[in-house]
């Protein structure tokens, strides 16, 4: 994949989203109207907007755990809005990576295997997958003595780095990053930024939320203001 390819890897069109709160009198909350954006291979696009503007909501809709009310979300040649669950599962396995702010793992599984798992589900041999995992953990300064322990007992910063290692284990063509540098010290922040640069260099399309302005400036090629998709009181897009 090359950076001058014109076909976007991620293309969001006319996307809208409501929350219906059935247990609070069926209140319908429109949270997004007419969202449009594209991310090309080798490009990193930053989502900006005030807290609550819907940056994480948009990201979750692309990931597929939030349903859209209308519109389309093309990741590669799959429309996540219309896709069957198994198509989304396949997409998440091979194509779309996601580094969330929370590490959710089966307790007791060693950190090394947590990081290697995305490779194992793709059929990578265990030795190779573990080697890749070890390489990432080392780069992210997780001491080797912790690798055989479950990350559930780690500090917030350590968990975040394990999460990043897991997200970068497989070279996904598309990546969603939800505040990957939050709660990291300067050294580890630099490692994460270099991982993002490397991913861009190999052609990954990256959509990120970065509160850290310095990090944002270093890796993002463009910005999209999610505030412009926030519905006004009449429900129309801004």
């Amino acid at each position: 994949m090359t950076t001058h390819m014109t076909q976007p890897m991620i293309r969001v069109s006319h996307l809208s989203k409501n929350f219906t709160l059935h247990n609070q009198g069926g209140t319908v909350l429109p949270v997004m109207r007419g969202a449009d954006l594209t991310v090309n291979p080798g490009e990193c696009v930053g989502l900006i907007g005030a807290s609550g503007a819907g940056k994480s909501t948009l990201m979750r809709m692309i990931w597929g755990n939030y349903l859209a009310a209308s519109g389309s979300i093309m990741v590669g040649d799959l429309d996540v809005v219309q896709a069957e669950p198994r198509q989304i599962i396949a997409l998440r396995r091979a194509t779309l990576g996601y580094v969330s702010q929370f590490l959710r793992v089966v307790p007791r599984v060693p950190t090394l295997d947590v990081v290697a798992e995305p490779l194992l589900v793709l059929g990578t041999p265990v030795i190779e997958a573990r080697a890749r995992a070890a390489d990432l953990l080392a780069r992210l300064n997780i001491p080797e003595r912790l690798w055989s322990l479950s990350p559930t007992t780690f500090s917030g910063g350590e968990q975040q780095r394990v999460n990043i290692a897991r997200g970068f284990a497989h070279p996904y063509p598309a990546l969603l990053l939800d505040e990957p540098t939050a709660s990291l010290d300067a050294a580890n922040r630099a490692v994460v930024l270099s991982l993002i640069h490397e991913a861009k260099a190999r052609g990954a399309a990256i959509l990120g939320i970065f509160h850290d302005e310095g990090a944002r400036a270093q890796v993002c090629d463009r910005f999209v203001d999610v505030g412009s998709f926030t519905p006004k009181a009449d429900g129309a897009a801004a």
Binding site: R60, L67, P85, R86, I89, V106, R108
Partner: protein, 266 residues
Amino acid sequence: MTLMHPLPVAADSPLLAVRDLTKRYGSRIGCADVSFDLWPGEVLGIVGESGSGKSTLLSCLAGHLRPDEGEVIFATAQGPRDVLQMAEAERRRLARSDWAFVHQNPRDGLRMGVTAGGNVGERLMAVGARHYGDIRARATDWLGRVEIAAERIDDRPSAFSGGMQQRLQIARNLVTGPRLVFMDEPTGGLDVSVQARLLDLLRGLVREMGLSAIIVTHDLAVVRLLADRLMVMKSGRVVEQGLTDQVLDDPQHAYTQLLVSSVLQV
């Protein structure tokens, strides 16, 4: 037999296709109009409160209960077949080769008077294994895979802890390399730490063996970690189904919203 939904056996066809499955207990509904496809390698979670029909549904799927209406089409080696139309001999053959059933209570799924090795070996012998040394070697291997020490092979399950019994039940079920596993509250009744170990084990086995599984549970944390897809049942009907994290993070149905918000943390 005419199939209403002919399913060619190809890499890209469902392993199990359920159509309009209904089971009534007199005038009461056990489960009604349940339809779904299960694809190879997929884990489907079925959640709902007690009495929601999830166990009835599982029993109907696994052939323990006869549904009143519907089809359960399984991709057998000879092509897709409606399990409900099969002769009992054939269905039972399927149940001990291609299928497996993990009971909530290991006592229901194990022979308590038979050694661990005999319990694991039974399914092998049932499908024709007649070499003691081979049977024992495979039983030993499987005990290892479910983290039971090889020297316990000649102990009876009554001497095992609850978690070990459950792991033994899993070994006994998976030794013949089934393609579809039914699990009824597999982690119910176990301590939290034992549950975690079992979940990890199940996840690894599902991945390594390419198993498809249907897991009935009321524990949303369990399905979050194990299931690719989720079906939510209420009063015998499926009220919502979709990707597990989508159903849990963005529930659409009032009942699912209530269910998710009632849990402390999932």
